[in-house]
Symmetry: D3
Subunit: 224 residues, 6 copies
C-alpha cells in the first residue's frame, strides 16, 4: 500500500472537545445514539485519566512503528494519536521516548489497536494510553503506512479530525461534524441524570420513574 | 421465555454471611470441598473489596438491562445482585444511576456475567462490581427475563438466597443450606493456617510439615 | 514422566542480576536483540514491582502444585520461582502460605504460566507474582513433575539459572552465559536514551534524530 | 467434594426423544422459548451427526477422567454422556477405547466441556462427540467426582434425564418434564416453516409475510 | 441511531467481479497491496466455496436480525449480504428460511460478523456463509439499523457496492473504483505464479529465483 | 538477533519415524509419559492426514516469511518444516508456491505457530499443514531469523532432528534420542489396546478391567 501523509486536517472547536471530555465516554456514547464505541478489549494502561482530543490517525504495518515518528510531526496541541494496523499485532509500538516526543508536540494521549510498553514511565509522565496489550516486544522500521486517512481501530471507523473521548470505560469516537449536536445532547443527558440520581438516592424505583410497570405486565412478567 | 419474579426468598443468617466475608473466597472455596467458584474471567472493577451477601438472581436477555430495574425492588439490605444472561453479552448493563438505586435499596455489590460501565463513579461510590467486561455499550429495555430463579452465572449454578463471597481472588457461591457447615470448616482452616504460617515464616518446609518426602519417593521423584 | 530434582545449578553474579533489574524488561529485551520475552498474557498481580533473579524452574502437572513444595527447598536467596505446566491450567497454584514459605527461603517473586490466588495477601506481603490468571481454584498433590530442568513458560524456553527480569511491561529471560554482554548493551542503551530523551523533550523529531526522511521518501511516502 | 453416583434416574419417553432429534437444535431452541443452548464453543468433532438422548451427567475434576468409567456402568441404551468439570480443562478425557465401551453399553454420543481425542477413530466408529477442544493430552484417575447430579456444562444447567439435542448447530438441553410440550411446539414450528419456505422460495419478502413495514416506519426507518 | 436504507447503490461490472472470484482471496489481497482483509476469525461454514459479489451492507443491533429482512428487498442478482453489528454478538442471525429468501432474490452468499445457524441446511442449499460463530441462539426484531451505509465488518471498512471476494482463505474487500486495477494486477500475478510454480516444481529454490542470497548475507545470516 | 543456519543435523532412523507415524499422536504422547504435545490451538487445515518426520526448525520474525525460503534449501526427504516466531503472528506465512517448493525438496508437511493460506490448493496438493490460523494476510522479507536451532513452537520445545508426529488429534514431538524407546512403548501400548478394545466391545467395564471399584470406594464414592 503506498503511504500517504495528509498534512492539513480540520479539527473541531476546542470548546466542543473540552465539553465532551467532561461528559465522559458512557454519556457521549448514549448521547450520540449508542454508536462510536471502540471494542472493549481496548483498556487504559492506568485508571483515572479522562481526555478528549482531535484524532490524528495512523495506519501502521504489523510490528512496525515507523509511522509513529512520521505522525508526531503532524501533531497540533490537544491531538490524540490513534493507531490502527494493517494486520493484528500485540507488539509494543509505543514507549517512553516516543511519548516524550509526542508530549513535546502537544499530544494528549494515544489510542492503539496493538501493544504499548514502558507503562511505568508513561504513568509517571501522566501520558495516558489505551491499548490492546502491554507487551515489551520491539518493533521494526521497514514498511511505510499512512497518516491522517480514515482507519479502522478496534472495530470503529475513525476519520482524521474526529473527536476521541477516552476514560476508564473505554474509548468513543464522535464525528467532527456531529460534535456540537452530540455535546448538546450529552449536556442535556447529564442535567437529566442529576435529577434522576437524586430521586434514586431517595429510594424511588426506576420502575416508577420510567413508568415501566404497565409495559412489563403487557410483556407477560409475573410476580409469584 | 415467560418472565417470573419470585418475591420472597429465604436468606441465610447475617452472622453466617459476615463470617464467610471475613474468610474470603479462597478459604471458603477450599472449606466447601473446592466447589462453587465462578469462572476466572469475572474480575473486580477495582481491587480491595471483600464482601458477602445473599444472592438476588437475575436472568437477563443479551444487551437488555430491563430486569435490573425489576430486581432492585426485590432487594433487602445486604443482598448482592447476581446477573446471568440468556446469551453471551459484554454490553454495559450497569452504571452509576442503577448503582445509586441499588445502593439506596441496600445492595452491597453486583456480580455480572456481562459488562459494566461508569466504573470511575462506581469506585468513588464504593459500590463493588465483579464483571466479565468494562464496556460503555448501552443496553435496551425490550425483552423480559426473570428474577430470583436459579441461574448459571460464569459457569456456576446460583440459587436465589445462596451466599455470594467476592474479593480480589474472584467470586464463590455457597449453598444457603450448607453455609453454617462451610463457615465452621472455613474458620477451622483459618486457625490451622495461622499455625502453619508461623512455621513457614520460621523456615520449616512444606515437605516436612505435610510429611511429603516418603510419598514423593514412592512416586519416583529423584534428586540429582 | 519421571520426576527429577536438580539440586545444584549455576547462578549468575549478583551484580549482573542487579544491573539487569535496574534496566527493566523493555530495555533488556532490546539490548539482547529482541528475544526472550514471555507471552503478553503473563501479567503482574499488582503494578510497580521490578525484580530480577535466577530462575529456579518447575515443571508441574495441570492443577497440581505439589512440586512447588519440592522447589522451595532448592531456593537460594534472590531466586525467582518459574513455573511451567505439562498441560494448560488456570488453577491457583500459589497463595499466601506458599508465598510465606518461599519468602522465608529467599525467593524474590514468582512467574507462573497458570493461576495464583490470595492476591490481596501477596500484595500486602510485597511478594510479586506474574501469572496467567488470578483464580481461587485449588490444586491437588498427586502427580510429580520436575525441578530445575529446562522448561517452556509462556512461549519462552527457560533454563535453571537463567536470569529473569520482570516489571509492569512483562517478563524477559536472559541466558546466564549472555548476562554480562546483555547488561553492557542495556547500559549503553540507557545512556543513549538519556541523551535522546533530552532531544525529544526539546522538540526534536525522530525523523531528524534518526535521519529517516530520505529512506521514507525512497519507500514512496507522499505528503499531501 | 464427596462423590455420588445416582443409579436410577427418570428418562423421557423414547418417542419424545426421537421427535426432538428430527427437529434439530435450532428449531427446538426456538420452540422452548430460546433457552437451553450450550455455549457456542462446544463444536462437533465431525459434521453431519444429529442425535437426541437422555443426559447421563458426569461432574469430573480437571484433567481426570476416572468418573467416565464409573458413568458407563450407569448407561441405558440411547443415553448421551454429558460431562462438566469442576475447573476448566482442555485435556482429552475421551478416546476410542472409552467410546468402544460407551457404545457397547448403548451410548449415542457425548457432550463434554473439555477435550476429546482419537477423533479419527471416533469418526470411523460413527460415535459423535461435541467438545470444547480436540487435544491428545492424557488424563489421570486420582480424584472422584459425581454421576447423575445436576451439572453446569458450557454455561447450561443440565439435570440427569434431561433431553440433549445435538447437531451441527450445537447442543440444546430440554427439561424432561417439558419435553412433550416442547416437541409439540417444535412440530408446529416446522409445519409453519414448510409453508413459509415455499413462500420465500417464490420470492415473497419477510417484510410482507410478517407485516413488518408499518412497525419499521414507526421505529423511524427511512428509505433514501 | 436513526435507521437508513439506501436503495440505489453503484455496483461494479460483472466481468470484473467474475474475474476477481477466479483469482481468490490471497491473490486479490496481494494484488491490491495487502489491504482489505477481514479478520481471520471470519471462517466459512463449509469448505470449497469461492465467490465474489457486490456488497449489500447491513448494520444490525446486537442479537437483532430485523434489518436482514429489510436488506433482502434491496438485493440484486449476484450481491453478497455483509453484516456488521453495533455491538459484538455471536447470536445466530441467519438460518435456512432467510437463506431461502436471500437466494430467491439473487444473493450469492453472506458475510457476517456474528453467528449463523441451520448450517446443515445452508450446506445442502449450497448457500455459503462466512461467520464469526455457528450458534443456534435466536435473535429478536425490536431495534432498527441501516442498509447500504459504510460499515465495519471484522476490522474492515466496507462500502455498499464494494466487491467482496471470499473463499477458504477468508474474505477480502476491494473498493469498487479500484476493481479494474486490482483485477489487472491479480491476473498479472497469477501469470507470474504459473511460471514460478513450474520452476519450484523443478526444484529451483526461492533463494535463487528471487536473488535473495546476497541480501541475506548483508543482513548477517551465517551458515554453520 | 543474528541469524544462523545450521546445515547438518542428525536425523532419526526412517524405520523409527515410520513406526511412530503409524501409532499416531495420542498413543505416542501416552507412550512417552504424557509429554511433548503442542498446544491445542494448532489444528490441521484438513482432516485425515497422519504423518511423522524429522523437524527442520525455523525461527521467524512476526509477519516475515523470509526464513522459509532459506529453510527449504536445507530439507532432506521426509522432513517436516516446523516454524516458531519471535513474536505472536497470525499472518499467512505459507501458501501454494512455497508448498510446491517444499514438496519438490522432500518435505512431508508443515507445523506453524502462525497462519497459513491457499488452503484449497494445499489440500489438493495433499500437503498437510497444522497451523494456528488460516489467514490470507501477506508477509514481508525484511528481517532474518534462524534455521535448525532449538525453538519454542506452540508451547513445546523442539530441537532440529526431533521427530514430529501429527494427525487429527494435534501434534507431538519426540526427542530423537528417545525415539527408539518411545516406539517400543507405543507398540506395546497398541498391542494392549487391541486386547482391551475387544473386551470393551464385549461389554466388560473399565471398572472391572482396571480393578477400579475398591480404590473408588476408598476415595469415598457412594452409590445412591
Amino acid at each position: 500500500m503506498s503511504g500517504i501523509v495528509v498534512q492539513n486536517i480540520e479539527r473541531a472547536d476546542q470548546s466542543l472537545i473540552d465539553g465532551l471530555a467532561k461528559c465522559g465516554v458512557s454519556t457521549v456514547h448514549e448521547a450520540q445514539g449508542r454508536k462510536g464505541l471502540l471494542a472493549d478489549y481496548i483498556r487504559p494502561i492506568y485508571s483515572g485519566a479522562r481526555i478528549a482530543g482531535s484524532a490524528l490517525t495512523i495506519l501502521a504495518p504489523p510490528c512496525d512503528n515507523w509511522m509513529l515518528h512520521v505522525a508526531i510531526e503532524q501533531l497540533k496541541a490537544g491531538d490524540i494519536l490513534v493507531v490502527g494496523t494493517t494486520s493484528p499485532s500485540n507488539a509494543g509500538y509505543f514507549g517512553d521516548l516516543l511519548a516524550t516526543s509526542a508530549k513535546a508536540h502537544g499530544a494528549k494521549g494515544m489510542i492503539i489497536d496493538a501493544g504499548t510498553r514502558d507503562v511505568r514511565d508513561l504513568k509517571e509522565m501522566k501520558f495516558p494510553v489505551w491499548s490492546k496489550a502491554v507487551f515489551a516486544q520491539g518493533t521494526i522500521k521497514e514498511t511505510i503506512g499512512s497518516v491522517n486517512i480514515p482507519i479502522v481501530c478496534a472495530d470503529a471507523l475513525i476519520n482524521p479530525g474526529d473527536i476521541i473521548v477516552a476514560d476508564d470505560d473505554g474509548v468513543c469516537v464522535v464525528r467532527r461534524e456531529e460534535a456540537s449536536d452530540v455535546l448538546e445532547k450529552a449536556l442535556a443527558r447529564e442535567a437529566n441524570e442529576t435529577d434522576k440520581r437524586a430521586r434514586f438516592e431517595a429510594g424511588e424505583l426506576g420502575l416508577d420513574i420510567y413508568n415501566m410497570r404497565e409495559r412489563l405486565a403487557e410483556k407477560g412478567l409475573k410476580y409469584v
